[in-house]
């Protein structure tokens, strides 16, 4: 189980997306694909919001 917030995430809201990013950043050593798999398995969409935040910030690495 990968811990992540469970509320419905909003695309531009600071609540769920920010929390999702914080949790994801703390586990930055995990491969992105695997993290996606684990979070989606647990019913979260926060990896998607995290990726959009990276895209918006211009971080393409």
């Amino acid at each position: 189980m990968v811990n992540a917030p469970t509320e419905h995430p909003r695309p531009s809201g600071a609540d769920a997306g920010t929390e999702g990013t914080r949790v994801l950043t703390a586990q930055a050593d995990m491969r992105l694909r695997e993290l996606f798999r684990l979070w989606l398995r647990d019913g979260h969409v926060h990896p998607l919001i995290h990726l959009v935040k990276r895209y918006r910030s211009g971080d393409r690495d």
């Binding site: 695309p11 531009s12 491969r31 989606l40 919001i49 959009v52």
Partner: protein, 283 residues
């Protein structure tokens, strides 16, 4: 207050919808023809002056950098490509199919912007996983058409469902089933069947919130593509709808797409760029 909708009544309404112009199906089919000539497609499109206007407006938009220099459908086809012109043509035709409804909480322009974004993202996903792109664009474009029909023919009931979703902080499709006893996925599938879209498109509409149930002989189902595109477009917030929710993405659909991690961000960029270009011409 009981806002439940009788499904037989909805089916009867759907049967009364006007047919899509024959030219739409001809253009969609024409794209699968490897011997297709530009002249032949331009001729099919030129039959409809309103379509010609939209296509020329798109071709002359700042997005393509040819402002005012494109004067014919043939030139537009050369500049922006068969696939994009077909996408414009299909979108414009489908947008004319149901008039803007007066339904509290329902945003007609936002609806079409989301549909266009999902169509573009579906096409991009299809390109990445080797799925037919025209089919994916069409399915993405009409994936929520049942919601437009509910807003047009049952505005009071759908407004109740929208209010329910807002109060409970739940996805719209869940609220529809709770309040109306029917959802936009089923209604949309009936409309797509009425309009003679392919079985794949019909199933993608019906299953776009639950692609795990999609019947598919290929590794990736069209429902997987539309389901994922819908989530991405909500997450990108292309439409800027207040209180919008990102629908839950199914693990199975994501895994079947099997996207390379390095493709994620370019996918967003292509979706957003193409959306901004086409939106200006169409909506």
């Amino acid at each position: 207050m009981n806002l439940a909708i009788n499904s037989d009544n909805v089916r009867a309404r759907v049967r009364d919808l006007p047919a899509l112009p024959k030219a739409v199906h001809e253009v969609i089919l024409a794209l699968d023809d490897e011997d297709l000539r530009l002249d032949a497609l331009a001729h099919k499109i030129a039959i409809d002056p309103a379509m010609v206007t939209k296509i020329l407006r798109a071709a002359n938009s700042p997005f393509y950098g040819m402002s005012g220099r494109i004067g014919s459908v043939h030139d537009a086809l050369r500049l922006i490509g068969l696939r994009t012109v077909s996408a414009l043509f299909t979108t414009a035709a489908v947008m004319r199919s149901i008039a803007p409804p007066s339904c509290e909480g329902f945003d007609f322009q936002g609806f079409w912007e989301h549909s266009l974004g999902t169509a573009i993202c579906s096409q991009e996903l299809a390109r990445l996983c080797g799925y037919p792109q025209t089919l994916a664009f069409t399915a993405g474009l009409v994936h929520d058409i049942g919601r437009l029909a509910l807003a047009a023919y049952y505005p009071h009931e759908l407004a109740g469902s929208i209010a329910f979703a807002r109060e409970r902080d739940c996805p719209q499709f869940e609220a529809e089933h709770s309040v109306l006893g029917i959802g936009h996925c089923e209604v949309g599938a009936w409309i797509a069947a009425h309009w003679h879209f392919s079985d794949k498109v019909i199933e993608a509409i019906r299953q776009h919130h639950d692609p795990s149930e999609a019947q598919c002989a290929t590794p990736v189902a069209l429902a997987d593509i539309v389901h994922t595109a819908d989530g991405i477009v909500h997450a990108l917030d292309l439409v800027h709808v207040g209180g919008d929710l990102v629908p839950r993405l199914q693990l199975g659909a994501w895994e079947r797409l099997n996207l390379a991690p390095e493709s994620y961000l370019p996918l967003f960029e292509r979706t957003e760029m193409n959306f901004l270009g086409l939106r200006e011409a169409l909506i």
